[in-house]
């Protein structure tokens, strides 16, 4: 049996490769970056919501099952550049360091994930212009290293604002969907900071809090135990205040129905999830239908979210829409099982 090609080394791809190996199949794991672990690794995610378990632990668990596993061949810095049907599988061309290489695979799992929204596109927030306006993925790294400091002067911030739904639920940037993660991750960050630095004030600007399911607990605790403040309204613009020393966040407190202007030492943008570059490229290469949002559309998304509709081609993780790590890991397992069934037939 030829190996099953897994495209993408984030949580979904790692989970799929690990699962294939445990089923006794061979996996060929291709990752375009030079490391495994996807976005959580790239941005040094700190604790993962909602259990506040370190990301390294969660990823480490997956990596342990893949790295050094004789049934998993890992190819870093490699992309899939061509594909031809070779029933029951495919013939693919890989482009790595040493030039094109053809491989026969028995099935393919696309786990190409998402990209964080580029917050510079919301020019009114001044991201990229004002050093103390951060993207929340950058704050993850700071929290991880316990160095929550203002990039402008290296001093600890006294008051921090989180702006939710940046590049999500926003027709002006063409992204009307919800990122699913921004709320819970921001609240988690606020809790982490308030735990370690109770002297720092934390304000979350929100339209709706979408800590769906059991994550609601974190939202409640953030208020009850950690004194995180919530203001209903989306910040409309960030400017400089106090001679450029602080940031001025302007918006409406929509519960009090008044415009607000509050100075902050640091503003954190909860940037949304967009279909990853890899997702777009693979959708083209495999002629897969994408929805208006640009994510790949599974054939029957409600009862079989991992099935692409093309025999032998399966989907996992954020390639099909914004997704949390546990969901991506589960889909990786599901896709692995389907690919295994196909390859064995």
């Amino acid at each position: 049996m030829n190996p099953v090609l897994v495209v993408g080394g984030g949580p979904a791809g790692l989970s799929a490769a690990a699962e294939l190996a445990s089923l006794g199949a061979e996996a060929l794991l291709v990752e375009k970056e030079g490391y495994l672990g996807g976005n959580p690794k790239r941005w040094h995610y700190s604790l993962l919501a909602p259990d506040l378990k370190p990301a390294e632990e969660v990823l480490g668990d997956l990596l342990g099952k893949v790295e050094g596993n004789p049934r998993v061949e890992v190819r870093l810095g490699t992309s899939v550049t061509a594909v031809d049907p070779a029933p029951p599988g495919f013939r693919v061309t890989l482009q790595g360091g040493k030039g094109p290489e053809g491989r026969e695979v028995s099935a393919v799992i696309l786990a190409t994930g998402f990209d964080h929204f580029d917050s510079r596109r919301k020019f009114e927030y001044g991201y990229g212009r004002y050093p103390d306006v951060l993207d929340f993925k950058e704050l993850e790294g700071m929290i991880h290293d316990d160095k929550v400091l203002r990039p402008s002067d290296g001093k600890p911030p006294k008051r921090i604002a989180w702006v939710l739904c940046v590049g999500s639920r926003d027709l002006q940037v063409g992204n009307p969907w919800c990122c699913r993660m921004g709320c819970v991750v921001s609240i988690k960050q606020a809790v982490e900071i308030r735990q370690k630095h109770p002297e720092m004030e934390a304000f979350v600007y929100y339209m709706d809090i979408r800590t769906y399911g059991l994550w609601e607990d974190l939202y409640w605790k953030s208020m009850q135990q950690y004194g995180v403040k919530f203001i209903r309204g989306r910040i409309g613009q960030i400017t400089l205040a106090e001679g450029g020393k602080r940031l001025l966040a302007t918006g409406e407190d929509t519960l009090l129905s008044r415009p607000t202007e509050v100075p902050f030492d640091m503003v954190v943008l909860a940037s949304g999830m967009e279909p990853g570059q890899g997702t777009k490229r693979m959708a083209e290469l495999f002629h897969l239908p994408v929805g208006p949002e640009g994510f790949i559309t599974p054939k029957i998304s409600d009862i079989n979210p991992v099935d692409s509709g093309v025999p032998g081609l399966y989907l996992a993780g954020a390639a099909t829409g914004p997704k949390a790590i546990p969901d991506s890991v589960t889909e990786g397992m599901g896709a692995a099982l389907r690919a295994y069934q196909h390859a064995r037939r």
Binding site: C165, R169, D170, L171, Q172, M207, D208, R232, G233, R234, I235, G236, Q237, T239, L240, T250, G251, E252, D253, T254, S257, P259
Partner: protein, 278 residues
């Protein structure tokens, strides 16, 4: 009395007639209105929702408040474009009625809210639909609210503008707040630089920009007549309307005389100039 009148949230002294009004999706605890006002409010509500622009302008709302963020009126009045959108979307005729009394006139129609809205609503547009409604029905409150603006209205109706370039100064627009024309932070450039962008010959033109050609005035008036604006205004302020008609009659006369005088030249002119005679 009907059962509805006995519901706990209502005033028990509703009249039979009041209680019999077709219910929209009413909010609880509303105050009493005269049967005439209640009837009119229902008419306004229905007319508003039947306006073909309604569904084009009001799409839905996340209540994010970004429209309010940039709204100059929200800084100075108890008013916000988000609230206006909510009022436009509400099923409660009384709420719409209340807004039509005064609130709708807080807006300066700058359209900033539209540019901000992430949902694609035309908030400034729906506010102007509300204004039309209140003018068309000659609401008492609208009459009172607009009474002090006779001069602006006269200029707008006869000349087409009431602001000239040299009026863009903080002193003329105190209600824009201290930063509106004085700050680099708001505009990104200083007012001096902005003024350089205005062609010299239109600066310092408080007088000349109000001296439009007689054809322009007549064309404007023709538009107001044809589109029903004049009739709308007549319902609201018959005196002002008569005054405007007088002014424009004078202009028409002026035009007729000029035509008489320069008849020979006019005959050689091409185009629809003569048709603005009215």
């Amino acid at each position: 009395m009907s059962v509805v009148a006995h519901l706990p949230h209502r005033s028990l002294s509703l009249t039979e007639e009041e209680a019999a009004q077709p219910p929209s999706m009413e909010l609880t605890g509303r105050r009493r209105m005269s049967p005439a006002d209640r009837g009119l409010s229902q008419t306004l509500y229905e007319e508003f929702h039947q306006d073909p622009r309604y569904h084009e302008y009001v799409l839905g709302c996340l209540n994010c408040g970004e429209c309010t963020t940039g709204c100059p009126a929200a800084r100075f009045y108890d008013f916000s474009p988000r609230e206006m959108l909510q009022i436009a979307a509400t099923g409660d005729a009384t709420t719409l009625w209340d807004a039509l009394q005064e609130k709708i006139w807080s807006c300066c129609q700058c359209y900033t809210c539209n540019m901000r809205c992430r949902f694609g609503n035309d908030i400034a547009g729906i506010i102007s639909v509300m204004r039309e409604l209140s003018v068309r029905h000659g609401l008492e409150a609208t009459r009172k609210t607009l009474a002090p603006f006779g001069r602006s209205l006269t200029l707008l109706m006869t000349v087409g503008t009431q602001v000239s370039a040299d009026m863009i100064q903080p002193d003329f627009f105190r209600d824009w707040g201290p930063f509106a024309t004085g700050s680099d932070q708001v505009w990104g450039v200083s007012p001096e630089v902005m003024r350089k962008a205005i062609p010299l010959d239109v600066l310092q033109t408080t007088r000349s920009s109000w001296e439009v050609s007689v054809q322009t005035s007549l064309e404007l008036f023709r538009i107001y007549e044809e589109t029903g604006v004049l009739d709308m205004l007549r319902g609201l302020d018959p005196d002002l309307t008569e005054m405007l008609v007088d002014i424009i009659e004078e202009r028409r006369e002026e035009f007729r005389e000029a035509r008489e005088k320069y008849r020979d030249e006019l005959i050689t002119m091409k185009g629809p100039v003569a048709s603005f005679e009215g």
